[in-house]
Every structure is written in structure tokens, then in C-alpha cells.
């Protein structure tokens, strides 16, 4: 079944001390345009990878903001870099670069043996 997160049994409390901002800060440093994302889902609607599997770019943005590094590292694999999302984004966000940065940072974290 689709995971809409409605039945999330875990705590909803956000603990800022444990918040994993490693990826978010990295992305914002090199692609500041990401900060203007309004989660409209335009990118997801057009996504070539999303057409083939349950990949969801908009969620990539959400997870990035929530610091869900582990989920990101599994999902980010699926993008095909076609660039459609960037062309439809109403906020002119360079999503391809966001994805490149996430992939790069995750692979760096892995080589540094940090938890992802």
C-alpha cells in the first residue's frame, strides 16, 4: 500500500538537537534556489522516473528538509536526470542539481563511514 504517513506510529516531536541537517545544509550551500520550493508537486507530475516506479521528487524535497537521510539514500537512486522537473518547476528550482548534490554528499558520507 502507498505510504501516506497517516498511520505513522512514531513520535511526531521534532528534536532540533538530533535533527540531521547534513544534506540540507550542503544542498542549500550550493543550490540556494531550493529554499523557495513550495512543494507544489509539479515536478512529480512530470517526472520520467515517477512514470516507471513510485519515485516522488517532491518527497525528496520534503525528506531533505526533514533530514531523512536514510530514505533519501535509497530513493535518490531512481532519478534519471532527464531534467523535465526543472523545466516545469514554477519556482525555477534547479532540481537536477539538487539531486546531483544529494547523491554526491551521500556517497561522500558513505566513504567517510558516517551513518546514512
Amino acid at each position: 500500500m502507498e505510504d501516506f504517513s497517516f498511520l505513522n506510529p512514531g513520535s511526531r516531536q521534532i528534536d532540533f538537537d538530533n535533527f540531521d541537517d547534513r544534506l540540507l545544509l550542503y544542498v542549500l550551500e550550493y543550490e540556494p534556489s531550493f529554499v523557495t520550493c513550495i512543494s507544489c508537486g509539479g515536478c512529480t507530475a512530470t517526472c520520467s522516473a515517477g512514470n516507471l516506479t513510485n519515485f516522488n521528487v517532491r518527497k525528496i524535497g520534503l525528506w531533505l528538509r526533514r533530514g531523512e537521510t536514510e530514505k533519501l539514500s535509497q530513493e535518490i537512486e531512481k532519478c534519471m536526470f532527464c531534467g523535465k522537473c526543472t523545466l516545469v518547476c514554477p519556482r525555477d528550482i534547479n532540481i537536477r542539481n539538487v539531486i546531483l548534490l544529494i547523491k554526491k554528499r551521500i556517497s561522500e558520507l558513505k566513504t567517510e563511514n558516517q551513518p546514512v
Partner: protein, 607 residues
């Protein structure tokens, strides 16, 4: 005589020779086995002659720079060829003076210091020629100095920034010939062994002339030479010897194959940092001034290339067109991207082997065409008119062609998509694959192995339909300016088929910046770093240029170019497929055509 003056020159020369031997051996040994074999096999007389001719034309005469910019060309030629002639003629002169073929290597350099006053066969002519060539070299040096301070005189907008090693080499290079002039002038005044130039200079500085000033000047000249030779390996002047090697290696058919090897180094060291690529690069208009090819080459050499630079390039190929050294800037950059992303290629194990449909022709629209439904509708109409048994392969589900991944350097990931698509294409038993996106076209032609399946770009397909009179577009007086998409024009060398198609429908206006020098629309998938605002600057610049020709319509043959231009409100932009279909419809209303075709054309309108 004071022989010690040759020491700085000799030490510098020996050091330079050793470094060159070390590097050349390292580079040639680092080539793959196959490439080494290629190099050995290329040592045939005809090929060698061809390479030598190229060394002469490009390394000494700098013909390509001449064509682009005569003053700059003269500057390079006078320095390189003038110096070369000084060396050759100097040796001949010494051989004539000594009546021997074996002369000490330093003697031609310091001839007028050591040889005081003897006359020999044609010595007057020799000294005249030597003075003449010295004058030519000096004019080149003067131009080089002028260029540093007033680059606009050379038709150049920009010139490259210097680092310390280059500064040292540049200063000593600038000093060599003026010092030589002074030293030879002084000797001419003292011993009367000069000609028109050195004698007159000697007269002017005559009041200072003495044996000891003479010695000082010659020592300074020797030091400048020695210093230049010592600084050369760590400066951009390393390009002079490396370019010779590059020409031989390139003519042996050696290319980069998606991974770095020493051919990368040879190309990197061959860049003279002439800056011609800077002038061709549009990105400067958007304020991007750190990522052009010359900087990338420099950063590879200095091991400090960042992703921000590497991925900030449209891969439009304009810099490659005018590079006088013929460096494959695009291949080189994509290879660096492949190396830098090796750690994070995707596996795409979610890809399914969806069934292929039997058909004689496949249409692959590609992701970008899916964002421009007008092109898809036009292609469907054309297939219908041609009565083609066509399978629209990615109408609902198909992975991307893989080219955007290639452009981002993720070669292994791209090959996963390629395998998936290849299986389907071969499975359908089709003989022809038609694509309407140049980005797809390039990867299908270059990286897919499709056996007997013919890959056609839609422009070729349509022009075939027109030639066989299967479709009948009507010629009107519409003024059309055609924009060459980078991936199709410079990328695949296809310039004519789209123009042929357009000529059947209207008047194609030739523009100044077309074909090899065509603009990039700014939308390129090659650049992962550029912002939409910067892209808009590039797009506006291109549109502004095209608008001078007052076109009724701006035609292009790429969905991404169309999408990019369409965001500019001031110009109507259409793909060639759309133009052809609308012209068929218009002419079908006036010119009688086969009734069935006409009917079908209108029936398709409902699609």
C-alpha cells in the same frame, strides 16, 4: 674569452630537456596498449609527413589563429616562426663560418659575442637575415606586450589570468629578445659584425660601449634564456613542445574513451591559454567567468578542479570550434565528469522488461518532446500520412534515452537505460528508429548498438517524405530563421536536412551566427549549475540576435530549444515538424492533392 656566459643558458636547456624527456616518456607509456600500438603503426612516412605539415602550419605558422584574428595570428607566428628561423639560420651561419657540420650547440646563440670580425662566405647576407628575423620576433614581442595591456586591439574581449609560474616565464620571454638586440648591438658597435638593425642600435648606445658592458649584456641575455627554459615546464609555455606530441598522438587516431589516461595530460599541457575559447563562450554574458574550457584545463593541470566549475558548462561545443590546438574540450570535460561521479551511479533495478510491439518503424519521442505535445501531434500526423506501421515506443512508459545522464557524467547509469531500450528496439523487429529530439539522436547514434536498425532524425525522415512526394508542403513567403540546436549541429554535424525541410515551406534567412557558430539557446541539459535566470539571459541574447532578421517564425529542431525559446514572449517559435504539418494543411486547402491524403490530414486534426 669568457666562456662562463653560456652557463645559465646551458643549465636551463639541460634541465628543460630532461623534464621534457621524462614527461614525454611518462605520457606515452601511460597510454593503453592498443593506443601504443596505434602510435607505433602511425610511424609511416605519409602519416608522419602529414603530422609534420600540421606541426609546421599550426605550431609555427598558427594558421588557425590567423584565420580567426590576423593580428593575433601575426603575433603568434612572428614569435614562433621567427624564433624558429633564428635558430635554424643561426646554425647554418655557424656551420658556414666554421666550415663544419658539427658545431657546439651554444655557439649559434652567442655567435656575435664569440665571433668578432671574421668574414666568411655570405657573412653579410647572414647577418642581414639574422637581423631581419630578430626584427620580426621583436615586433611579435611588442604586440604581446600591447595585448596584455590593450586586448581590445586584438578583437579579444578577454584574456586569461596569470599565475606565478606563468609570470616568471612571461617576463623572461619578454626580456630575451630586447636583451639580444642590445647585446648584439653592443657587439656590432665594438666589432662591426652587425647589420642594419644591430648596427643602428649599436650607434645609439655607442657612448656606453665597452668590453665589460658587452659582457654584462650577453650574460643578461644568457640568464633570460636560461630562466625561460627553467620556467617553461611549469608555465603555460609547456604547450609549445607538448603540442607537437599532441599532433602526432592525435593523428595516430588516439582519443579519450570515457576515462582519463595520459592523453588527458597531453591535451591539458597543450593548451596555450590563448583565450580564444573565452571569446566564443556565451556564459560570460550571464556573468559566469570561472568555468570556461581554458580554466578547466588549467585546473585539471593544477589538480584543483571543483564540481561547481566542472558542471557549469552548457557543453555547447562552441569553444571547441575555434581552439587553435584542436583540443576536444567537450570529450575532456565529460570524461572529468565521469571520473568525478564514479562513486554514485544508479543501478535502476526497478526497470522492467516491458514487451516490445512488432512494427516496421519505431518512434521515440523522448522526455523533452513529451513536454512539447505539438511536436508529438505533428509527428503522428506525418506518420499517418506516410502510412507507416509505427510503434510509439515511449508513448506511455519507457526510460529516458540516457543522454542526460551521460552529460552529467553518469556513464554506467546511462548504460543501464541503454540496455533496457536496446532490448525493446531490437525486439520489435523494426528497421527504422525515428527520433525528434537531437539529445536522444546523439546517444542513439553514438552509444547504442542497434545492428541494422537505421536511426533517423525527424528532419531526415521528413525531408525523405518530401523528396518522395509522399507529403506536399506548400512553399510560401514566410521568413524563417533556423536555430541550430547544439547537440544536432556542432554535436552531430547535421546542418542541412532541417534547412532542406524548411526550404520546402518558406524562405530560410541565412544569419551570421549559424551552423558551427550558432548560439546555444541556454536550455542545455549539459549545465547542471546554471540558474534559470542565467539561462534566460542567454536565451534573450540569442533571440535578440535572431530578431534583427525580422523572422515571421523562429524554427528549431529540438524540443528543448523550443521550450526554452517559447518562454520568450517576443518571438514565435516552432519545430520543423510543426511547420511542415501546418504548411501541408494550408496548401491542402488550395492545391489539389490525392484526396485520401487530404482527408487523412484533416482526420488527424482530431488526434
Amino acid at each position: 674569452m669568457e666562456n662562463f656566459i653560456i652557463i645559465p643558458f646551458t643549465v636551463g636547456l639541460i634541465y628543460l630537456t630532461l623534464v621534457l624527456i621524462y614527461r614525454f616518456v611518462k605520457w606515452v607509456r601511460g597510454l593503453s596498449k592498443l593506443d601504443k600500438l596505434r602510435l607505433v603503426q602511425s610511424f609511416k612516412i605519409r602519416r608522419m609527413l602529414r603530422s609534420l605539415k600540421e606541426v609546421f602550419y599550426e605550431g609555427l605558422l598558427h594558421r588557425k589563429i590567423f584565420r580567426k584574428n590576423p593580428v593575433l595570428g601575426y603575433m603568434h607566428m612572428s614569435l614562433a616562426f621567427g624564433w624558429f628561423l633564428l635558430i635554424v639560420l643561426g646554425h647554418i651561419e655557424v656551420m658556414a663560418a666554421r666550415r663544419s657540420l658539427l658545431v657546439p650547440f651554444y655557439l649559434p646563440v652567442f655567435f656575435r659575442y664569440f665571433e668578432t670580425g671574421t668574414t666568411f662566405f655570405a657573412s653579410g647576407i647572414f647577418s642581414f637575415l639574422m637581423d631581419f628575423f630578430l626584427l620580426i620576433v621583436l615586433s611579435g614581442v611588442a604586440l604581446a606586450m600591447l595585448k596584455r595591456f590593450k586586448k581590445q586591439l586584438f578583437g579579444m574581449k578577454k584574456t586569461t589570468r596569470l599565475k606565478t609560474g606563468d609570470r616568471m616565464a612571461l617576463t623572461s620571454l619578454w626580456l630575451i629578445f630586447p636583451l639580444r638586440l642590445l647585446a648584439e648591438g653592443m657587439s656590432a658597435e665594438l666589432y662591426g659584425n652587425g647589420s642594419f638593425l644591430t648596427s643602428s642600435v649599436g650607434h645609439i648606445i655607442g657612448s656606453f660601449s665597452s668590453e665589460s658592458t658587452n659582457l654584462v649584456l650577453w650574460t643578461a641575455y644568457s640568464c633570460a634564456l636560461g630562466f625561460f627554459f627553467a620556467a617553461l615546464p611549469n608555465s603555460r609555455y609547456m604547450h609549445i613542445p607538448t603540442e607537437v606530441l599532441l599532433i602526432f598522438v592525435r593523428n595516430a587516431g588516439i582519443r579519450l574513451k570515457k576515462r582519463n589516461n595520459t592523453y588527458t595530460d597531453i591535451q591539458v599541457f597543450s593548451c596555450s591559454r590563448c583565450g580564444l575559447c573565452l571569446d566564443n563562450c556565451q556564459m560570460a554574458a550571464a556573468g559566469i567567468n570561472h568555468a570556461q574550457s581554458v580554466y578547466i584545463l588549467k585546473n585539471i593541470r593544477n589538480n584543483n578542479l571543483t564540481d561547481e566549475q566542472l558542471f557549469n558548462c552548457l557543453l555547447c561545443g562552441k569553444c571547441e570550434v575555434d581552439c587553435p590546438v584542436g583540443i576536444n574540450t567537450i570529450d575532456l570535460r565529460i570524461t572529468q565528469r565521469i571520473e568525478s561521479t564514479l562513486q554514485y551511479n544508479s543501478s535502476y533495478n526497478y526497470l522492467e522488461d516491458l514487451p516490445a510491439r512488432k512494427a516496421s518503424t519505431i518512434y521515440f519521442a523522448g522526455c523533452m518532446t513529451h513536454l512539447t505535445p505539438g511536436i508529438i501531434a505533428s509527428m503522428k500526423t506525418l506518420f499517418h500520412m506516410a502510412g507507416e506501421n509505427v510503434w510509439f515506443m515511449d508513448e506511455e512508459k519507457a526510460p529516458c534515452c540516457g543522454r542526460p545522464l551521460m552529460l552529467a557524467g553518469q556513464h554506467d547509469a546511462a548504460s543501464k537505460l541503454i540496455v533496457n531500450n536496446t532490448r525493446k528496439i531490437l525486439g520489435s523487429g523494426a528497421k527504422t528508429l525515428v527520433v525528434s529530439c537531437p539529445i536522444c539522436y546523439k546517444v542513439f547514434r553514438e552509444d547504442y548498438e542497434l545492428g541494422n536498425v537505421e536511426v533517423l532524425f525527424h528532419a531526415e525522415y521528413i525531408s525523405r517524405l518530401i523528396r518522395e512526394q509522399i507529403i506536399l508542403p506548400g512553399k510560401t513567403t514566410t521568413r524563417i530563421v533556423y536555430h541550430d540546436p547544439c547537440e544536432l549541429g556542432r554535436g552531430m554535424g547535421m546542418f542541412e536536412p532541417p534547412r532542406e525541410v524548411l526550404r520546402a515551406t518558406g524562405k530560410v534567412i541565412p544569419v551570421k551566427n549559424e551552423k558551427q557558430m550558432a548560439h546555444c539557446c541556454g536550455g542545455s541539459l549539459g549545465n547542471l549549475k546554471i540558474s534559470q535566470q542565467e539561462r534566460a539571459v542567454l536565451r534573450n541574447q540569442a533571440v535578440k540576435d535572431y530578431q534583427q532578421y525580422l523572422p515571421d517564425v523562429l524554427a528549431t529542431a529540438c524540443p528543448l530549444c523550443k521550450k526554452t525559446f517559447a518562454r520568450h514572449r517576443g518571438i514565435e517559435v516552432m519545430d520543423i515538424a510543426e511547420i511542415v504539418v501546418s504548411s501541408i494543411r494550408k496548401s491542402a486547402e488550395v492545391v489539389p492533392v490525392k484526396a485520401s491524403v487530404k482527408e487523412e490530414a484533416f482526420a488527424e486534426e482530431l488526434v
